[in-house]
């Protein structure tokens, strides 16, 4: 099949970017979106042109490296899918696709479709951990966890940190991401000791990174490749507000 791609090309943060139009003629419907870009890039390289930069790693929807906007929707039209798992048969022959990078102040552009998502790493580093003694593995079932909690924690733990939630949010909010991390650690017994401090520190870091506010409108949930539910944001707010009340003020500790 044949596709017309209008792709955002920008050499680096300091130059101006613009859309470039490409025709890709030998698209196999079973290819993924990234493989389609591979085909384009091979052609560009053969002709001595600069290939399109995009991030990728696992190409099986689990690492969270890939992602860009396709026709105004993060990760494209298929729900619960990353662009590396989106096959071209979901598009019509001859269709025009607009590919744009995630746009947020907290995600500065690197090149073309690749953006810098280190802000997410810094949110994790601020509190996304638990303190347990390492060493020999604990006995199985030594710490009981109810099925319902375990399920909810695992649902939240599915977050791969791709950044689609930020990209889709009209306010560029990172609430679904931060909420998922706070929820998956905060629901389990091992996460209890740092629960207050974790929420306060991760939310503080999220705000310092210049992400926007959450309006609870749900665009993030609609594009999340792991279908993380919006209630993780409620949990984040709960733990943040409760933690803010309980955590000692600076100087008090």
């Amino acid at each position: 099949m044949r596709l017309i791609l209008r792709i955002w090309r920008q050499k680096n943060r300091n130059t101006k970017g613009k859309f470039a139009r490409y025709e890709v003629n030998d698209v196999n419907p079973d290819m993924s979106m990234l493989e389609c870009l591979d085909v384009l890039n091979e052609d560009l390289a053969r002709r001595g042109k600069e290939p399109v930069a995009f991030e990728h790693d696992c190409r099986e929807g689990i690492c969270g490296s890939c992602g860009f906007m396709i026709n105004g929707v993060a990760h494209g039209p298929l729900s619960g899918t990353t662009v590396c798992q989106l096959t071209m048969r979901h598009f019509k022959d001859g269709e025009e696709l607009i590919l744009e990078p995630w746009r947020a102040r907290a995600f500065p552009l690197v090149k073309d479709l690749a953006v810098d998502r280190n802000a997410f790493d810094r949110i994790i580093a601020a509190g996304g951990y638990i303190s347990i003694s390492t060493g020999s593995a604990p006995d199985g079932n030594a710490i009981p966890v109810s099925k319902e909690r375990a399920d909810a924690a695992m649902d939240a733990a599915q977050c791969i940190g791709c950044g689609a939630c930020v990209a889709a949010c009209p306010n560029a909010s990172a609430s679904l991401f931060t909420g998922a991390k706070i929820t998956h650690l905060g629901l389990l017994p091992q996460g209890q000791p740092e629960r207050d401090l974790r929420a306060v520190r991760m939310v503080t870091q999220m705000n310092l990174e210049q992400f926007g506010q959450c309006t609870n409108i749900g665009e993030c949930v609609a594009v999340c490749p792991k279908l993380i539910p919006i209630e993780v944001i409620g949990r984040m707010n709960h733990d943040y507000i409760a933690g803010s009340m309980r955590e000692p003020e600076a100087g008090e500790a």
Binding site: R122, G212, Q213, N216, I233, I241
Partner: protein, 227 residues
Amino acid sequence: MSSIAIGLRENKAVRLWDSTNGKKAVMAVSGFILFLFVLGHMLGNLQVFEGPAQFNRYAQLLRTLPEGLWAVRIILLIMVVLHIVAAVQLALRKRTARPIGYAKRKPIGSTYASRTMYWSGPIIFAFIVYHLLDLTSGNLNPNFIEGDVYHNVIASFSNPFVSAWYIFAMVLLAFHLRHGLWSMFNSLGLTHPRYTPALRRAATFFAVVIFLGFISVPIGVLTGIVK
């Protein structure tokens, strides 16, 4: 931002207000209190259908205890100020959070009501100012008679433009509440996946009830049921 935040703000209240999440919590609480007022106000208004004597007696009753009246007014004023200051600050923040917009963007997961909160809110505010000048102080009501609330309501709503503007504002209030009454639970961290569908239905229900309750008055006047 390249380093990790370690120092936390000294004061707990300042720390909360400093964060977008804290401002949203303030909006949720102030929005909820404003909603309670709006609900009570709507129920009170319905007495217009019981005739001038009853309606004016009700209006008189609200004014028998000036301290109480002013206490409520001051609380509402504080809530409006908090709600609006947070709204303005967050509106500015939203603009800086995405300095370069998308060439193409398609909403797929949100309602119209939720996407227009930053429009419905300020228009509701403009309406509240107009409404107070029209029916509380009477400055904008050419036929205003101090104390004859029933007469003033009819004098205002007999003008179809006044009624239309009122109904339009109530449409926006209904949109605002349709999203806001659910959103406030998530902002305060009181949601659970099991109850979200019920909360959303309840929000829609109250938005519709408030809308119908309020617009019944101008419609009553325009159709001559209230005269």
